[in-house]
C-alpha cells in the first residue's frame, strides 16, 4: 500500500509535486508522516545515497534521487521493496520527461502539482494486485534491491542535529577559551600593576623617610 508520494528538489528541499493521501480509512493520521517527509526532503542533499529505505515505525519511506530530484514514497512495511522502487523509477521517468528541464528554475512550492494525476494512476496500478503481477515480472531484473541501504528515519533526521550540537559545543568552547585568554591577560596586568605599586610605595616611603627623618 502506497500512502504518500512526494517529489522534491534535492538542492533546497522545495516540494515540486505530491499526491494527497487517498485512503478510505483516513482515521490513520498521516499528518505526522507528512511533516516527516517534508523534513526528510530538506535533509537530503547531493551526498545522500541515491536509493535508501528509511524505517519509521510500521511504515517505510523509500526514496530515490535522480537528476537532482528526490522521489519519496511512504509505504506500509509489508509492501515489497522491489515494487516500491519500481514505482519510484516509473515516476522518475515520467516526471523527468515532462518537467525535467524546468525543475531548477521554479520557486513556488508544488509547481508541478498537476503531476498528481499521473501519480494517482501509477499508484493505482501498483497497488492493484492483479496489475502488480504483470509489472513484477517486467521489473525483476530492474535492480538489486538487496543492495539498497536501510536506515532508520530518526537517525537521518537527527544526524544534522548532532552535527549542529557539536558545532555549538565547539563554538562554545572557542568562546570560552577566548574569555579565558582575556581573563588571564587581565590578571597578568593586574598583578604587574600590583607589583609596580608595591615598589612605588616602598620607594616613596623610603624617600619620605630619608627626607624627613634622616635629614
Amino acid at each position: 500500500m502506497i500512502l504518500l508520494t512526494m517529489v522534491a528538489r534535492v538542492a533546497d528541499g522545495l516540494p515540486l509535486a505530491a499526491s494527497i493521501q487517498e485512503d478510505e480509512q483516513s482515521g490513520r493520521d498521516l499528518q505526522q508522516y507528512q511533516s516527516q517527509a517534508k523534513q526528510l526532503c530538506r535533509k537530503l542533499n547531493a551526498q545522500s545515497p541515491d536509493r535508501c529505505t528509511l524505517e519509521t515505525g510500521d511504515m517505510n519511506f523509500h526514496y530515490l534521487i535522480a537528476q537532482g530530484v528526490c522521489y519519496l514514497s511512504l509505504c506500509e512495511a509489508s509492501f515489497p521493496k522491489k515494487m516500491a522502487f519500481a514505482y519510484l523509477e516509473d515516476l522518475h521517468n515520467e516526471f523527468y520527461d515532462q518537467y525535467g528541464r524546468r525543475v531548477p528554475t521554479v520557486t513556488r512550492p508544488y509547481s508541478f502539482i498537476e503531476f498528481d494525476t499521473y501519480i494517482q494512476k501509477m499508484k493505482k496500478s501498483y497497488v492493484d494486485s492483479r496489475a502488480r503481477r504483470n509489472l513484477g515480472s517486467i521489473n525483476t531484473e530492474l535492480q538489486d534491491v538487496q543492495r539498497i541501504m536501510v536506515a532508520n528515519i530518526e537517525e537521518v533526521l537527527q544526524r544534522g542535529e548532532a552535527i549542529s550540537a557539536l558545532d555549538t559545543k565547539a563554538s562554545n568552547l572557542s568562546s570560552l577559551s577566548k574569555k579565558y585568554r582575556s581573563d588571564a591577560k587581565y590578571l597578568n596586568t593586574r598583578s604587574t600593576y600590583a607589583k609596580v605599586a608595591a615598589v612605588a610605595v616602598f620607594f616613596i616611603t623610603l624617600i619620605i623617610y630619608v627626607r624627613f627623618w634622616w635629614l
Partner: protein, 1108 residues
C-alpha cells in the same frame, strides 16, 4: 435604572468564568446565561435607554428628555457627566459640552505650535535634523512613520505628560472639557458606583433588561470576557483588558501546542496580544482593580474553546485534529530544526553599505509640511534622537492629525441635523463611505472601503469614549471580493512581524534601512536581505518601494510552510434531490443545462474532480470512471448505515471523464421524470457525500426541494401558518436538530464546504438546513415557490445565480485571521465560518460573494498612538492548486474627542453591524428583543449626542449630519423580512433573509435595506459620467416615499437582487416605446421579466396602483 439593580459584578464574573465554551449546544448561551454576565457593565452604563421600558421610547424623542435623568444620577447617557460634575465640584452641564464646531479645533491645540510653522523655518530641533545632506534625495513618505515612532519610546511620552492631550486633566480641563473625561475613567467608574448606591432611585426593574441595547448582548458565548466588552456597558477598562489578554494568550499557546505536537517543533508565541505592553497604559489607564477576574478566566479550561462561539458558531471544536490554525499564524522560518537552513532560514543580516541612503526614504515630501518634522527627525539612522528634547510624540501626532485632516468635511459631518425639520436627507448620489481623517499619503494607500470598512472611521481612544458615543465599533469585511487589479508577490520569505505575525504593510515604519517597526504591536523587526531588492523597479536598497509597502491589499504566494498537506485539487460534488417534488418543480433540467454550459468554466486545473449523487428515499451514486461506455448508477438503499459502494470511481477527474459527465448530465433529467418517490433522505445523502469528500476536501452543492423526511436529520414541519403575521414573538428561528451543524463541523474539519440551494414551495425548515452551510463557510440560496413554469421570475433568478455560482472564483482550505492594533480586541464574528482558536476563522471554502463582520472593543487606551490599524489575512488554496495569502490592511486615526468620533461615523457600516447583531439577538433571545434593541440604538445615539456634543438647546431630534440617515435605516431595517412583525412572513423566507444579512457584503445589504430609487423618464446629461465613449447619466436618488412617485413618470428601484420598474399611467409614450418596446401603457404585459443580469419586474400590482 435597571442597571443598578444588578451591581453584583462578582456574580457576573463567576458565571463567566465557568467553562461554558466547548461543548455547549448552539444556543445554550442564550439570554439566561449571558444576561447576568452583562450586568456588571450594565450597572455603570448599560441599560440606560430603556429605563422606562420601550413603551416610552417616544418620550425619549421628546425635547430634552435627559434633563431629568441627570438629577437622579442613574442615567447612563449622563453618567460621565454626573461623574465628572461630582469631581469637578458640579460644573454646570453646559460648560462641559463644547459646541460641535469648536470640537474639531480642540484636537488641534497641541499641534498649533507646529502647525503654524512654515516649512522653511522648522523648530530648532527639526532644523538640526533637516540640514542633513540626505534631504535632496527623492522625497519619500513613509506612511505612518511618525506613528510608529511615537510609541516606540513611551518613556519619552512620559517625560512630558502634560503635553499629552488626553492627560491634560489639570489646565486643559476648563478649555477642552471633554478631553479631561477619559483622563480618569477608572476613578469615574467607581465614583459612579458609589454615587449610584447613594442615589437610591432604581426606577428600572431587572425585567427590563430585555430592552437593553443590542450591543451588550452580542450573543457572547465566549466566556464573558468578550461578552463584557461589546456593549456600552463596559466595566473599568483595566479590569476587562487583562482578562481577555490572558484568555487570548492561553488560547494561542494552546493552539500552538496543538500544532507543534503534530508537525514542526518550532517555538513561538505568535499572539502578540498576550503581552501587556510595558508603558502602554498611559496616564489614563487604571490598573485592574482586582486580579481575580483575569485569573479566573485564564484558568477556565474551556475558555479557548469558548472562543469559537462568535455569533453563528457555538459548539465543540472540530474533533478532527487540525493544525491549520497555526498555518496562518505560520511557523517561524528559522525556528525549524537548526540544520534545515535551505529555503526558509532567514539569512544573516549582513550590513550593506548604503550610507547615503540611510535615511533618505524617511523624509516626507517637501510639500507635506506638517509631517516632515517627524519624518526628518526619526529618519536618522542613529538612535540619539530619542534622547533629544523633543516635543512629545502624541503632541506631534495630534499636530499631524489636526492638519492633515480636512476640517471643513468634519464640520459638515458634525452639522447638527434636526430630523423633525429637515425632510431631504438623502444625498443626490448613493452614499459613499466616509474617508478616514488621515494624511493624504495614507489615504492614497488605504484599503478600499468596499473591502474593509469600520463603523467608526475615527477610532475612539478609550472604551469610555466609545461608550459615550453609544455607537457600535466593528469591522465589515469582504475579503475575497473580485478585484480588478491585485499585486501578487512571489518571494521566498514573506516579511512578517516576529511577535504578532503581522504581514508587512504600508503603515509600518522603517526605522532605518535594516529595521522596520510593526504597526500593530510596535515591535522592531529586521528587514530580511531579500526584501532589500525591489523586483518592480529592479533596484536594490529600497525596501519602502516594495509592492507590499505600496499597497494595502496584496496577495502573497505562500511557501510550503503555509501548507499542512499538498494543495488540494478543486473538487466539486453535486447532491441532487430527485424526489417527486423535485421533478415537479423541474429544476433538474435547468441545473444540468447550466452545468453543461459552464463545465469548462468551472474554476480548476487538470486535477479538477467532480462527482454526482442523487437521492430520494435511496441514494444513487454514479460511476464515471474513465473507460466506461456510459455512466453506471449504483443505488444504496441502506440509509441507516450509509457506505460508499466504490472508492475511486465516484469522484472522477473532470478532464479525463468529461464525456461521461456530459452523458450523465444529458440523461439525468429524463431518468427520474416518472418517479413516484416522495420521500427525501437528505441526511444520509449528506453523510455519504461527506465520506466521499473527506480525503480531499472541496465543495458539496446540495439541491433540496422539500423537508427531509427519512433517516438521520429528518425534520418536522414546525411552522404554524396562522402565526405568520403575529406581532408576538416568532418561534423556531433556531435549528430543530443539531445533526446539520455537527455534519457541517465535520465537513469544516475536512475542508469541505456545503452550499445549499433550497427550491421549496413549502416549508422546508431552512433554520435547520442552513446550519450545514453556516458552519462550513458555505452559502445559502433560497427560491421560494420555485416552479419552472409557474414562476418564471424565480427560474430566471435561479439560472443567473447558478451561472455565477458555478463560475465564480473559489478558494479551498482557507483560514482567515484579523489582527488589530494593540489595545483593540475583536470579540464577536458574524458570517458563515467556524471559529477555531479564538481568532482564527476556518473557511473550508471561500467565495467572492460572502462578507464578514466583527465587533470590537477598546481594551487598552490607544493614547500612545495616533493611528489604529487592522489587518485581515486570508490564506487559501486557489482552484489551480496555489497556496496564496491575501492581506488587507486598513489604517484609521485615533481620536480623543467625542465630536470627532461622530464626525467619522459610517452610518451604513453601523446599520449593517447592528443588523447582524439584531439577527443574533433574535435567534438567541426573541425577535421583539432585537427590534427593541435596534430602536434603542437610535434613541441612545440621539440622547448621547444631545447631551454630550450638541450645545444647541433646540428641541427636536438632533443628530450629527454624518448619522442623519441612521433613524431612517433602522426603520427600514425593522421592515425587512428578517425583522418585521405584523406582516405575514413565511418562516423560511424570514430565516433566509437573516442568512443574507449575515453574509451579504455591505453594498448589497444597504440596497436591500434601503433601495435606491431613481426617476428614469426625465434623465438629463447634467452631471453625467463620461466613461470612454458612453455617457452614463446620473439621476438623483429619491426618497422612498409615495410623494416622490408621479403618474407621469417611470421609476426604477434597485433592491440589490431585484430591480423594480414602476411605470406611471400617464408616462410618456415615447419612453414606453423606446425602453420597453410597447406602443403604449395599456399594452405593457402585466408580468414582464426582462432578460438582464438581474430580474426586472414590472409588477402589475404596482402599476395597478396608479390606476386607482
Amino acid at each position: 435604572m435597571s442597571g443598578f439593580t444588578n451591581l453584583n459584578s462578582s456574580a457576573g464574573y463567576s458565571q463567566n468564568s465557568t467553562p461554558n465554551g466547548g461543548a455547549a449546544p448552539p444556543y445554550q448561551n442564550g439570554p439566561v446565561q449571558t444576561y447576568p454576565a452583562m450586568y456588571p457593565p450594565a450597572g455603570y452604563y448599560g441599560a440606560p435607554p430603556q429605563q422606562q421600558g420601550y413603551s416610552t421610547i417616544p418620550g425619549h424623542a421628546a425635547p430634552a428628555p435627559n434633563k431629568a435623568p441627570v438629577t437622579n444620577n442613574a442615567h447612563s447617557a449622563n453618567y460621565y457627566h454626573n461623574n465628572h460634575q461630582q469631581q469637578q465640584n458640579h460644573l454646570p452641564q453646559h460648560r462641559v459640552a463644547p459646541s460641535p464646531y469648536s470640537a474639531p479645533l480642540s484636537s488641534a491645540p497641541p499641534s498649533q505650535p507646529y502647525a503654524a510653522l512654515p516649512s522653511a523655518a522648522p523648530p530648532p530641533t527639526n532644523a538640526h535634523y533637516n540640514q542633513q545632506p540626505f534631504q535632496p534625495h527623492p522625497p519619500y513618505a513613509t506612511p505612518g512613520s511618525y506613528y510608529g515612532q511615537q510609541s516606540y519610546h513611551p518613556s519619552s511620552a512620559r517625560q512630558h505628560p502634560s503635553l499629552v492631550p488626553v492627560t491634560a486633566s489639570g489646565p486643559g480641563a476648563p478649555l477642552y472639557p471633554i478631553v479631561s473625561y477619559p483622563s480618569a475613567p477608572g476613578s469615574s467608574q467607581y465614583g459612579t458606583l458609589s454615587s449610584s448606591q447613594s442615589t437610591s432611585a432604581p426606577v428600572g426593574m431587572p425585567t427590563q433588561m430585555v430592552g437593553a441595547p443590542l450591543h451588550q448582548y452580542s450573543a457572547a458565548p465566549p466566556p464573558s470576557t468578550t461578552a463584557v466588552q461589546p456593549g456600552y456597558g463596559v466595566g473599568p477598562p483595566g479590569q476587562t483588558a487583562p482578562t481577555v489578554v490572558n484568555g487570548q494568550g492561553s488560547a494561542a499557546q494552546n493552539a500552538v501546542h496543538q500544532h507543534y505536537t503534530q508537525s514542526h517543533q518550532a517555538s513561538l508565541s505568535y499572539d502578540s496580544y498576550s503581552g501587556v505592553p510595558p508603558g502602554s497604559g498611559g496616564a489614563d489607564t487604571d490598573q485592574p482593580p482586582s486580579g481575580t477576574p483575569s485569573t479566573s478566566v485564564h484558568s477556565s479550561p474551556g475558555h479557548h474553546q469558548g472562543g469559537d462561539t462568535s455569533s453563528s458558531t457555538t459548539g465543540s471544536a472540530s474533533p478532527v485534529p487540525n493544525s491549520y490554525d497555526s498555518l496562518e499564524g505560520g511557523s517561524y522560518p528559522d525556528s525549524m530544526p537548526p540544520s534545515n537552513d535551505m529555503t526558509n532560514q532567514a539569512a544573516p543580516y549582513g550590513s550593506y553599505g548604503y550610507p547615503s541612503m540611510q535615511s533618505a526614504y524617511q523624509q516626507g515630501p517637501a510639500s507635506h509640511t506638517d509631517a516632515s518634522p517627524s519624518h526628518d527627525l526619526y529618519g536618522q539612522s542613529g538612535y540619539q534622537q530619542y534622547s533629544q528634547p523633543f516635543p512629545n510624540l502624541s503632541q506631534l501626532s495630534a499636530a499631524l492629525g489636526g492638519l492633515s485632516g480636512v476640517p471643513e468635511l468634519e464640520v459638515e459631518a458634525l452639522r447638527p441635523v434636526n430630523l423633525l425639520q429637515e425632510r431631504n436627507l438623502l444625498p443626490p448620489r448613493p452614499l459613499e463611505a466616509p474617508e478616514p481623517n488621515v494624511s493624504s499619503d495614507l489615504k492614497k494607500v488605504n484599503c478600499s472601503p468596499q473591502t474593509f470598512r469600520c463603523t467608526l472611521t475615527s477610532i475612539p481612544q478609550t472604551q469610555a469614549l466609545l461608550n459615550k458615543a453609544r455607537l457600535p465599533l466593528g469591522l465589515l469585511l469582504h475579503p475575497f471580493r473580485d478585484l480588478q487589479q491585485l499585486p501578487v508577490i512571489t518571494s521566498n520569505t514573506i516579511v512578517r512581524c516576529r511577535s504578532c505575525r503581522t504581514y508587512i504593510n504600508p503603515f509600518v515604519t522603517f526605522l532605518d534601512q535594516r529595521r522596520w517597526k510593526c504597526n500593530l504591536c510596535y515591535r522592531v523587526n529586521d528587514v530580511p536581505d531579500e526584501f532589500m531588492y525591489n523586483p518592480v523597479t529592479r533596484s536594490y536598497g529600497e525596501p519602502h518601494k516594495r509592492p507590499e509597502v505600496q499597497n494595502a491589499t496584496v496577495e502573497f504566494i505562500a511557501s510550503s510552510d503555509y501548507m499542512l498537506r499538498p494543495p488540494q485539487p478543486a473538487v466539486y460534488l453535486f447532491l441532487l434531490d430527485v424526489s417527486h417534488n423535485a421533478v415537479e418543480a423541474g429544476y433538474l433540467k435547468y441545473f444540468c443545462e447550466s452545468l453543461l454550459e459552464n463545465l469548462t468554466k468551472l474554476p480548476g486545473d487538470v486535477r479538477t474532480r467532480v462527482g454526482f449523487l442523487t437521492f430520494d428515499s435511496t441514494i444513487h451514486f454514479y460511476n464515471l470512471q474513465e473507460g466506461l461506455s456510459q455512466p453506471q448508477m449504483l443505488v444504496v438503499s441502506d440509509i441507516d448505515d450509509v457506505f460508499i459502494p466504490s472508492h475511486d470511481s465516484l469522484m472522477v477527474n473532470l478532464k479525463e471523464s468529461k464525456e461521461l459527465v456530459k452523458d450523465l448530465l444529458t440523461s439525468l433529467p429524463e431518468m427520474f421524470s416518472q418517479t413516484r418517490e416522495t420521500h427525501s433522505a437528505l441526511g444520509p445523502a449528506l453523510q455519504a457525500a461527506y465520506k466521499l469528500m473527506s480525503p480531499t476536501g472541496g465543495r458539496i452543492t446540495v439541491f433540496q426541494t422539500q423537508l427531509p423526511t427519512l433517516g438521520v436529520g429528518a425534520l418536522q414541519a414546525r411552522e404554524d401558518p396562522n402565526q405568520r403575521s403575529s406581532a408576538k414573538g416568532v418561534q423556531h428561528l433556531g435549528p430543530a436538530t443539531d445533526f446539520y451543524k455537527k455534519l457541517a463541523l465535520d465537513c469544516s474539519g475536512q475542508q469541505i464546504g456545503v452550499d445549499l440551494f433550497l427550491l421549496s414551495s413549502q416549508y422546508a425548515d431552512l433554520a435547520s438546513l442552513a446550519c450545514m452551510s453556516k458552519y462550513s463557510a458555505g452559502s445559502v440560496f433560497y427560491y421560494p415557490s420555485f416552479h419552472y413554469i409557474h414562476n418564471p421570475a424565480q427560474l430566471e433568478k435561479f439560472q443567473k445565480d447558478l451561472e455565477r455560482y458555478l463560475t465564480r472564483k473559489i478558494g479551498f482550505e482557507a483560514v482567515m485571521r484579523i489582527r488589530c492594533t494593540k489595545g483593540l480586541s475583536i470579540h464577536t464574528f458574524h458570517g458563515n465560518f467556524f471559529v477555531r482558536s479564538t481568532d482564527l476563522l476556518s473557511l473550508a471554502n471561500v467565495n467572492p460573494d460572502s462578507a464578514f463582520a466583527v465587533q470590537m472593543s477598546v481594551e487598552d487606551s490607544l493614547a500612545d498612538s495616533s493611528l489604529a490599524c487592522f489587518q485581515a489575512a486570508l490564506l487559501y488554496t486557489s482552484s489551480r492548486g496555489k497556496r496564496r495569502i491575501r492581506v488587507h490592511t486598513l489604517c484609521l486615526p485615533v481620536v480623543n474627542q467625542l465630536s470627532d468620533v461622530y464626525a467619522g461615523a459610517d452610518v451604513q457600516a453601523i446599520t449593517c453591524l447592528l443588523a447582524n447583531m439584531a439577527i443574533d439577538r433574535s435567534v438567541s433571545s426573541s425577535l421583539s428583543d432585537a427590534r427593541d434593541a435596534l430602536v434603542n440604538a437610535v434613541v441612545d445615539l440621539v440622547s448621547a449626542y444631545k447631551s454630550n456634543v450638541s450645545n444647541l438647546q433646540q428641541s427636536g431630534l438632533v443628530v450629527p449630519a454624518s448619522m442623519r440617515l441612521f433613524p431612517l435605516y433602522i426603520l427600514a431595517l425593522l421592515k425587512q423580512k428578517a425583522l418585521r412583525t405584523g406582516t405575514s412572513t413565511r418562516l423560511d423566507e424570514r430565516v433566509f433573509a437573516m442568512c443574507e444579512f449575515k453574509t451579504q457584503p455591505l453594498q448589497q445589504l444597504m440596497r436591500l435595506v434601503h433601495p435606491d430609487l431613481y426617476r428614469l423618464d426625465n434623465m438629463s446629461d447634467q452631471g453625467a459620467l463620461h466613461l470612454n465613449d458612453t455617457v452614463v447619466p446620473q439621476p438623483h436618488l429619491l426618497h422612498l416615499s409615495a410623494e416622490r412617485l408621479s403618474r407621469d413618470g417611470a421609476f426604477l428601484m434597485d433592491c440589490s437582487n431585484v430591480f423594480y420598474l414602476w411605470i406611471g399611467k400617464c408616462c410618456n409614450e415615447m419612453f414606453i416605446r423606446d425602453v420597453l418596446g410597447c406602443p403604449n401603457y395599456a399594452s405593457i404585459p402585466p408580468n414582464m421579466v426582462s432578460d438582464s443580469k438581474r430580474c426586472i419586474y414590472v409588477s402589475p400590482s404596482m402599476s395597478g396602483n396608479d390606476r386607482e
